[in-house]
Every structure is written in C-alpha cells, then in structure tokens.
C-alpha cells in the first residue's frame, strides 16, 4: 500500500464485516518519542483464540477465513520495516483491537496519506453503524464522532445525504490544515 491510510481503510472493512456497530480509529503522533501509533477498535463478533494466533500469517489463512488474511499481514510488514510492530487482541462476541506503530521519522515509513478521503468513504459505507475518528499530534487533536453528528441532526436523516457529507468534508479539511502529519 502506498499510504498508511489505505491500510487503515482495509482494516476498517474487516471491522465492518465483523458486524461491528461502533468502530474507533485513532492516529497519534508523539514527536518527542518519535512514535506514530494507530489503533482500530471495534465491537464486532471477534475471533477465536487459535484464529487470532494465526491471523497474521498469510500462509495459514484458510479460504473460509480469507477476509482477514493478507490485509493484516501487509500492515504488519509495513510497521516492521520501520522499527514498529502490529498486535491484535480479540475476544469472541466482544470485539477486536488492532494496534500498529511506527518509528515516526523512519525513512522507510509510508506517508500517512489522504485520511480526509479515507474517513469520507468510511462514513459513506458505515450504514447504521458509527465511527469515532481521532487524530492527534503532540498537543493538537481532532475528534469526529458520527453518533454526535446524528444526534445534532436529530431527524434520523442518513449521513450520506449530500448536505451532511459536505459538512463532514469541510470539517475534515479544516482538521487536515491544523494537524500536519506526514
């Protein structure tokens, strides 16, 4: 993948396919620690223990489990190139946590990429489910919570209506100007 954002989008679809109703995505950069950390947390159906143990190995993934095969392996490989790693915690009927980190200044690290379009598309494909997206760099932070957006609208109109998507796009553009993560 050319951008870390694309890995995040890919893992987001794993969560969505696992029947999650709430997906939390957080990106945090700490320049002092020279660390970039990404977390994708969902409340989906989770995975069996033996499945979690194998999920990072593309060669042990069977056909019935192909939803979570190469995507996670590629993500992990990209972190390993940059003195980072990826871990997964999962429990059946509880959910899954994917945590990935990179050495922020590492020369082999892909750029974070276009999170604006990525989050925009996530929201368009959420359906009735919700997303909390947060991004942080040192003291600057931004949070977008679709539950709050739905609450503010109050009339049950879908997030996919052109006016609301326009608003969300503007919010994300402002955020991008404020928090500069390469």
């Amino acid at each position: 993948m050319r951008e870390i954002a694309l890995h995040i989008l890919d893992i987001f679809y794993n969560s969505l396919q696992a029947d999650s109703s709430l997906i939390k995505i957080s990106i945090a950069v700490d320049t002092k620690k020279d660390l970039m950390e990404i977390k994708i947390i969902d409340n989906g159906k989770g995975m069996k223990k033996e499945f979690v143990n194998n999920v990072l190995d593309p060669f042990t993934t069977t056909r019935s489990t192909r939803n979570v095969g190469l995507g996670l392996s590629l993500f992990k490989a990209s972190t390993n190139r940059c003195e980072g790693d990826l871990t997964i915690w999962s429990k059946e009927k509880v959910g899954t946590i994917v945590k990935a980190w990179y050495k922020y200044s590492h020369i082999d690290r892909q750029p974070l990429g276009n999170m604006r379009d990525t989050v925009y598309i996530m929201i368009l494909t959420l359906g009735e489910n919700n997303l909390i997206y947060s991004i942080k760099k040192d003291d600057e932070s931004f949070v977008l919570d679709t539950r709050k957006i739905r609450e503010e609208m109050g009339d049950g109109s879908p997030l996919t209506s052109p006016e609301i998507m326009g608003e969300i796009k503007m919010l994300l553009e402002e955020e991008e100007k404020k928090i500069n993560i390469s």
Partner: protein
C-alpha cells in the same frame, strides 16, 4: 421563520432524494471492490469519484456501494454496475477517468462501455 407550503414541499423533495440515495430503489447500482487488493490498486479514489459524480449529476436513484474480493485481484479496481432490471456488467482496472465515462455513458445514456469490461 414561517414555512410556506412551497418550503415544505421543497423539504419533502430533499428528504425523498436522500432516502433514495441510500436505498437506491429502481436505479442503477455501482459496486466497487474494496478488499485489500482493490484498495491497494486504487479503489478508494474510484469510489470517491463515483460518489461525487452521482451527487454532482443529481442521479438520485443511483446507489454506490462496496463489495469484497471476487478473486480477480489482478484486474482491480473492479466496478460492477447493476442495471434496474438486474443485469450485471463488470468493469476492470477502473480509474477516475473510466468511472466518469461509465457514469456518463452507461448510467446516464444506457450504453455499456464495452472496452472497459472483463469480456473485451
């Protein structure tokens, strides 16, 4: 501010438009492959372009959705267009320019862009 009957009618129309954008009944469906292979090949930008064109051209009844991997990873990004009568056309190696042409020619004018399909 008082709402007139015309205002209410306008609101009703807007709301119906939104509901249709979501459910897309009687309209074309544009389905973009968004598995690992699709995303790696550029499906995100194709999906975004499709949504923006649909909104821009006021194609109220068209739905844009996503699907998983169908096993043709080397052909990604793959876009399937399903007509109101249920006929499916599969477009391969789609990019921004191709999706624009697909929307103009297939969705609006009803002509399949055969040079982009998997059969060509």
């Amino acid at each position: 501010m008082k709402k007139t009957a015309a205002d209410l009618e306008q609101i009703r129309k807007e709301t119906l438009k939104n509901v249709e954008l979501r459910t897309g009944k009687d309209g074309y469906k544009i389905i973009v492959g968004m598995a690992t292979c699709g995303i790696a090949a550029g499906a995100r930008d194709v999906f975004k372009e499709a949504i923006e064109k649909v909104i821009e051209k006021d194609l109220d009844s068209v739905t844009v959705g996503q699907m998983g991997c169908i096993g043709l990873c080397s052909m990604e990004p793959i876009v399937e267009v399903i007509s109101p009568s249920g006929e499916k056309t599969r477009y391969i190696k789609v990019n921004k320019e191709k999706i624009d042409n697909i929307i103009t020619s297939h969705i609006i004018d009803g002509n399949v862009v055969s040079e982009y399909t998997s059969e060509s």
